[in-house]
């Protein structure tokens, strides 16, 4: 059973629907005991970091997520769920986050250009993830596969060794990070077609051990 963390951060049903299409049992829950019992946990989210952290603290789920990240249980962060895993975010006048992976979350700078054209913010649409080394989560994904992104802030891990994949949008940023049994992606696998579903399927089979 995969538990999807409900911390009032956007519509979580799209992740559940994607898992259902793969016939992977899942439950959306805000209960710590259910999260602890689950074999795997998905930590999604859409919205702003400040409110997300407020909700996590008020519900006490902040401690539970930290505990799961340490426990060796496979944990997948998606979008905002990925961002709040870091120490801090520049969003909402600098938000203190969960501090599970060292580093910050930064806003795309104004005036970013590609081929002379000003880039739009949010970074919205399909882009590639150039992976660094192999990881079970990306098994069977071709190098030129693209994933659906929508975000104005990007993860900036302090340690290079936490970077699993990178994406170009005027700058190069970490679009996938991993440490032990934790993997976190900035894009939305549940909205990224067949390759996104493959990532969720890979996660549903992953035992949390390190990259082969």
């Amino acid at each position: 059973m995969i538990a999807i963390v409900d911390y009032r951060a956007g519509n979580l049903t799209s992740v559940a629907r994607a898992l259902q299409s793969l016939k992977v049992p899942c439950v959306i829950t805000d209960r710590a005991d259910e999260l602890r019992r689950a074999e795997r946990v998905i930590f999604p989210g859409v919205g702003a970091a400040g409110e997300a952290m407020r909700n996590l603290r008020e519900s006490g789920l902040d401690g539970c997520i930290r505990e799961i990240a340490r426990s060796g249980k496979p944990l997948l962060g998606i979008c905002l769920g990925t961002q709040v895993i870091f120490d801090t975010s520049e969003e909402d006048d600098r938000t203190t986050c969960l501090g599970i992976i060292a580093g910050g979350v930064k806003r795309f700078p104004e005036g970013l250009k590609e081929k002379g054209d000003l880039l739009k913010i949010p970074h919205m649409g399909w882009n590639r993830v150039q992976s660094r080394g192999s990881h079970p989560l990306f098994a069977g994904i071709p190098a030129n596969a693209e994933f659906y992104f929508v975000h104005s802030y990007y993860p900036a891990p302090a340690s290079e060794s936490d970077i699993l994949g990178e994406t170009e949008y005027g700058i190069r940023f970490a679009s996938a990070v991993s440490r032990g049994s934790l993997v976190a992606v900035q894009f939305h696998p549940e909205k990224s077609g067949r390759f996104g579903l493959r990532i969720l399927e890979n996660f549903s089979r992953w035992d949390g051990s390190h990259a082969q």
């Binding site: 519509n11 799209s14 629907r17 054209d117 000003l118 649409g125 399909w126 693209e146 909205k191 077609g193």
Partner: protein
Amino acid sequence: MLSKRIIPCLDVRDGKLTKGVRFKGNIDIGDPVEVARNYYEQGADEIVFYDITASSEGRDIMIDVVKRVAETIFIPFSVGGGIRTLEDMRKVILAGAEKVSVNSGAVENPSIISEGAVAFGRQCVVLGMDVKKVGKSEKIPSGYEIVIQGGRKSMGIDALWWAREAENLGAGEICLNSIDADGTLEGYELELTHLITTSVKIPVIASGGAGKKEDLLDVLTSAKADAALIASIVHYGTYTIAELKEYLSGNGVKVREIW
């Protein structure tokens, strides 16, 4: 590097597909869920549903269509048409749409943009704009005016001003439809598209007029649109989405090539 998006637009009435030409003489061409599945499998980057249903009974049918689409395709899709209240937006988003598009509802009540952005996030709120070329005047300095009711009613609002205002209110994206080009198959309104997309920081989807593959190339390169909405050009089998993408890619446009 971000790919330019190719987005089929499906007009729906009472839960069934139509294809409007200049918003008149619509004909039914089938089940929206099945057509969405086909476009998903053929490499559409996103799908736009435009609900032209008038009755509240028909609206409930549409919510059911949205739910079934959300169980069938795993790419973003938006739903627009007749969205007037936060509750209308909520129904569509809870049914599984990634984005909701407001058009005349936002012209009449601009605060729905900011309320929607606060409630669901900016990325959920698309401003749909129907625009008509009118010539520059003191009231319409850009020469492009906002119209509603399929172009029948002029609103006396400058399109450029409205695009910037909607961005400030919290719209996450603009779907820009030229009433003059819509249904002509003679190409997008390039001048209008360029004007709007270079004046706002949010992505702009160009809509109206796509009849041949060169039209997409023009609007995505010289007019700098972030995405191209297409309808007849794929609905009637002139091209497949893969053919359009192959052509664009061959001409230097970054598109999503495998799916």
